[in-house]
Amino acid sequence: MVEHQEIARAAAAHTVAPAGWLAWTILFLPLAAFLAITFLTRKSKLLSTSLAIGSMAIGLAATGTLLLHLLRAGEHAAYQYTVNWITLPGLAVEFGLLINPLSVLMSLVVTGVGLMIFLYSIGYMADDAAYSRYFAYLSLFAFSMLGIVLANNFVTLFMSWELVGASSYLLIGFWYDKPAAADAGKKAFLVNRIADFGFLAGILMLWSIAGNQLDPKTLNLIELEQRMPGLIAQWGVNLFSPLSIAALLIFCGAVGKSAQFPLHVWLPDAMQGPTPVSALMHAATMVAAGVYMICRVFFLFGEVPGALEIIAVIGGFTSIFAASMALVENDIKRILAYSTLSQLGTMVMALGLGGYTAGMYHLSTHAFFKALLFLGAGCVIHAMHSNNIWHMGGLKKAMPVTTALFFIGSLALAGIWPLSGFWSKDEILALAFGKCKILWTVGTVTAGMTAYYMGRVLCVVFLGEQRDHHAHPHEVPPVMYMPLIVLAIFSVVGGFIGIPSLLHHAKGVHVEFNKLVALISSAAAAGGLLLAFKVYGKQPQEDPFAVRFKGLTRLLTSKYYIDDIYGWLNTNIQQRTALVSAWVERNVIMSFLVNGTAKITGLSGSLLTKFQTGKVQAYALSLVAGIGILIYVGWRCIP
């Protein structure tokens, strides 16, 4: 029973809704590919690959069709496709999709970047024994991610959210025979679980306050959006109103998935997975799910200023905090991971400042150039069989194409005009400049640091002379660099294809281009790059920064001891609490309450058994005694 239903809005009223199968296809083709690969074509590399890539390509085409439709229909168009899932009195849960400009943009990013990464994986994973399993997991991930993107209610959203966590666990721990990878998978899953607990609590809280006497409770995003004014009138918007608390709890989920401080610890470790996985999930799409989710329910966040401030501060802090750790990191993938953290922090900060469009804009451009960078790093690792940048060097001779592409990505990330990163980052900084000078300063400093650590990577890895003379780097096959070229094109032109205009109807703050801000941030970026080239340009054998600032380097390489603090908390607080709980459980609950009940029952039973002798005469005696006592009582004691 599929209900096609069009949200009657003025602008969309005269257009015909796109066919429902289009939207369902986008979502369910990857799932079908996953199932088919797992159960049917596991043995055949060719079939598995074509299934996975075909599903993504068709998804991309379908998304494009929907985008064209939306462009024709106008920017306020939104379509809903639902299946009734659980229908009980007082509880109606549906499985549904919501197609609007935001979800189509995100779906485009997921399927587009995803397709490039799938193609790239053909080359990168060519020699892996578990090739088909890899593509099965990728398809499962794509299904889960598209579920988050397209979901029209919180139940579907949360279900996909958890599926993303599960497929992320599977892919991070893809090389499960490597203990570090298995541990990283578990870490990612557990940290996400902590965050998801808050998310779930937030959803339930929102559900509990969403209904009133007239309307049944709902988790449908559109209905919630329509009810927002009523809810605000009913509950208020101060920091301790249920709305704010629900918003903050929902933000908790985003903190986990988008790896914001203090739950950022899983993302650097997640680099244990195959590099295309890191590119797809831990750079371009999955970690963006948190940011996307905030945008998706921005009708809620946008109305609670207190919660927004907290979000902005967390985002800003994560952004500079992660950038600082990237300064001294030596693993090329982890540098990019910290950079991802930092950029996600920037996006969250933008959302916290009310910049719905700016955040989503940066998310899209970031997806392109971060996927490009990760895949470029993958090429380098593929060629060098090492992640350490100090084993590399001078790769520009051996790998000219990769080098050029990596340069484009780095410059886009650093925010150099006219690459896409410049435009999206500038929109965020301009927004911050207008709203909060402190966060603007943080953003600008982060931009400088970003340029500096990317310059460091460029110098150490690609320029100069080769450090490790045993390695024989070579250019990667075309199947690996062709997707990179596509991503590079989008990284370059991403600022001119009108992503913000797609979202301009939405709530949130719109900012105009600010020349002063652009100038300052460009100066910071250029300064960072120049500084990096000055420090690392002279072909040093070890990190001059680490030699110069030993204490600071130790602090940064230990990641501000946050992992150690968590470890300490785990062993000392959580373990001991667990011991106490175990003691209470064993001695109070088990021995006293549970076994005690059993013992009392047993004791009374064994007492009563004494009367059950099985001898008829004993029963006769009880009968006589009972009658005698009854007669006596009835005679003497009752007047």
């Binding site: 005696l621 006589v624 005698g628 006596y632």
Partner: protein
Amino acid sequence: MTQNIFYLLAALSIAGALGVILARNPVYAVLSLVATMFAISGIFLLLHAYFVAAIQILVYAGAVLVLFLFVVMLLDMAPETMFRMKINTLKIGGALFSLFLLWEILTAAGFFTIPSANDNSSQGTTAAVGKLLFTRYALPFELASILLLVGIIGAIVLAKKKL
């Protein structure tokens, strides 16, 4: 005169009953019970219950107790070693509570001081009882016959090894 005969018969019946529960040999116990039955039958006669007195002799002494004797002799039971077994709670409790009940019954019996009607209406002749049985109590009478039939069949089913 009647009073004295009653005391005699009462003493006889109590003695017989005590003989039943105290006798070690089942044969002696059955014979004591026969004596008790005769004494009780005499008491029934004193109370003008002629029909009941007659069937007391016929059914009880004649049929039931003879059946008892048959079974006792068929099974050839050894005399029970009653007074050599240890006194246990069952015995003490049984005796105590029974005497307690006896005390209650005797006390209650003291309250019944209904003067006897002592007219011919309570003459339990065969004719009078028979008339009642076949008119007012015809249905219970028939039910009793069914009960007897069931008892006979039950006894046969139980006692026969193979049917």
